[in-house]
């Protein structure tokens, strides 16, 4: 088992958007999605939601 590596730098905004695309299918429910989206700038949230909507395991208005 690999030893944990401490990241030297925080993720950039671009890296976080890419990671969101990868992790969207693992978000368990609408409450969790709300926590995830709130960590992005308010202006980006609607657009990000539209992008990941097809991958979500649940429906969101």
């Amino acid at each position: 088992m690999a030893r944990p590596v401490q990241p030297q730098f925080r993720r950039t905004a671009v890296e976080r958007r890419i990671l969101l695309q990868k992790r969207a299918k693992d978000i368990p429910d609408a409450k969790a999605l709300e926590i995830v989206l709130k960590s992005f700038p308010k202006a980006e949230r609607a657009g990000l939601l539209d992008q990941i909507r097809p991958q979500l395991r649940f429906t969101v208005d």
Binding site: M1, R10, D26, K38
Partner: protein, 471 residues
């Protein structure tokens, strides 16, 4: 006749076993290991250490230091730091839902932070500045542990972790699922307890840091989230799943081992699901005995806590004596600080010191009870002219209650269904070391059960009972 079986555990089972040990635990008397022979020793007493003005104790935590421990307690919505003399210094406010809170520390990995999970909100306390901040953004922790430089929490996302050594920063994209109902950090592994199984995770160098460990999956669920405790390289918990509940498990490695007996299980399952799910466990070591203590707040009167001694593998009961019956103990949260065992009361906000060197319950008597197993010889009459209790005599106090300590004996001739009147037996004032605890003329019972009770605040060490000893 030497009655070796007199000293034993609590085991009141359907198989006509009636024995109980309340506020007495077994210590192996035969150090050669050739015989399973035990003595009974009194459980620890308590004295008031501190009272939290904020309300019931919801969490206790100690940061060990070389002679400079730092002890923290959450009482209601207040975080306090306790000094070694019991002085409580208010460090700030957290939110409360009345449920237990969790405190995790990253100091073992070189950090300086405590992360507090309370009311599904996260709070951060920095040990070097004594600053408490929160609620922390992006995390709604049900529980939290510290592992491999990360704080790891159960949240709405599942298992969620902070930035390394930084409990103030939680990226909601750092999660893995599914979550669970309780967490434990053990030997660099993350144990995620669920209602139907337990899964073990480890920190990896992957982008999703915490990943399931191959073979780290246990098909036994957790019933009581607050029942988890660690001691002697093992985890203990009160289990339950779709097949049933009310068995106490120990896990050494990934193999669960049932440690409760039929007697314990029958007693626990009688409490009902709600009481069992609210069980609270803690573990501690004193005098070389490692105890796992399970408290059941809300259990009916007449019952208290069940305690398992990992050194003997035997169970005993612990309870307060109030209004003529046994009832739940005051403290069910534990920490070891300043060289003392401290237990917190979730109702009153009182924190007690618990020690084998204390012989009362903060001024109230501790009623110790030993009820023997049945002694039957083909249901023939057994003439019983003399009962002699072999105990350490002459340990009375110099004055007051305990100056002339006594035990009370009563006998059942029908296997413990009914008992005769109590008879008091003196066991020796201070210095009367050769005093013999003798009682005469007990008739000729067929199905003998002997019950011994003691309430004096003196050390109780019962080695054996002799029936009809030769003079």
């Amino acid at each position: 006749m030497r009655w070796d079986a007199f000293c034993g555990p609590s085991s009141t089972a359907l198989a006509q076993d009636v024995q109980r040990a309340v506020n007495l635990f077994c210590e192996r008397a035969d150090t050669s290991g050739k015989n399973e022979r035990y003595a009974l020793v009194g459980t620890p007493g308590r004295s008031l250490f501190a009272t939290l003005a904020g309300g019931g104790v919801r969490a206790l935590h100690t940061e060990p230091g070389q002679g400079a421990d730092r002890c923290f307690a959450i009482g209601g919505s207040k975080l306090y730091e306790l000094a070694s003399d019991g002085t409580a210094t208010l460090r700030g406010d957290v939110s409360t839902d009345g449920q237990p809170a969790k405190i995790a520390s990253n100091t073992v990995d070189g950090g300086t932070q405590l992360f507090i999970a309370s009311d599904r909100k996260g709070f951060l306390y920095v040990l070097t500045t004594d600053a408490l901040t929160g609620p922390i953004a992006n995390v709604d922790p049900l529980s939290v542990v510290a592992l491999s430089t990360y704080f790891v929490a159960l949240t709405s996302l599942g298992i969620q972790w902070s930035d390394p050594l930084d409990g103030a920063t939680w990226d909601p994209l750092d999660f893995n699922g599914p979550g669970g109902i309780a967490l434990l950090a053990d030997r660099k592994e993350l144990w995620v307890y669920r209602s139907r199984n337990i899964e073990v995770y480890t920190a990896t160098s992957e982008e999703t840091v915490f990943q399931p460990t191959p073979s780290g999956f246990i098909q036994q669920g957790l019933l009581a989230p607050e029942s988890i405790a660690q001691i002697d390289n093992a985890q203990f918990h009160l289990g339950g799943d779709e097949r049933g509940h009310g068995i106490v498990w120990s896990s050494e490695g990934y193999a669960p081992r049932r440690i409760s007996t039929h007697a314990v299980e029958q007693a626990l399952q009688g409490f009902g699901l709600t009481v069992l799910a609210g069980a609270r466990g803690y573990a501690y070591q004193e005098g070389g005995h490692s105890f796992y203590v399970l408290n059941f707040p809300g259990a009916p009167n007449g019952s208290g806590a069940w305690a398992y001694d990992t050194t003997t593998g035997l169970w005993h009961e612990r309870a307060r004596w109030a209004n003529g019956q046994y009832t739940a103990e005051h403290g069910c949260l534990h920490t070891f600080a300043f060289g003392r065992h401290l237990v917190g009361d979730p109702i009153t906000g009182k924190i007690y010191e618990q020690s084998m060197g204390l012989y009362d319950d903060d001024g109230d008597v501790i009623r110790r009870l030993r009820r023997s197993p049945r002694l039957v010889n083909e249901l023939r009459r057994q003439p019983l002219s003399t009962i002699q209790v072999d105990l350490e005599a002459g340990l009375g106090l110099s004055s007051g209650q305990g100056a002339d300590p006594q035990i009370a004996l009563r006998l059942s001739g029908d296997g413990g269904k009914t008992f005769g009147n109590e008879r008091l037996v003196n066991v020796g004032k201070i210095g009367e070391y050769s005093r013999r605890a003798l009682s005469y003329r007990w008739g000729a019972p067929r199905d003998l059960v002997l019950e011994l009770t003691a309430t004096d605040p003196v050390p109780w060490r019962i080695a054996n009972v002799y029936l009809n000893p030769e003079s």
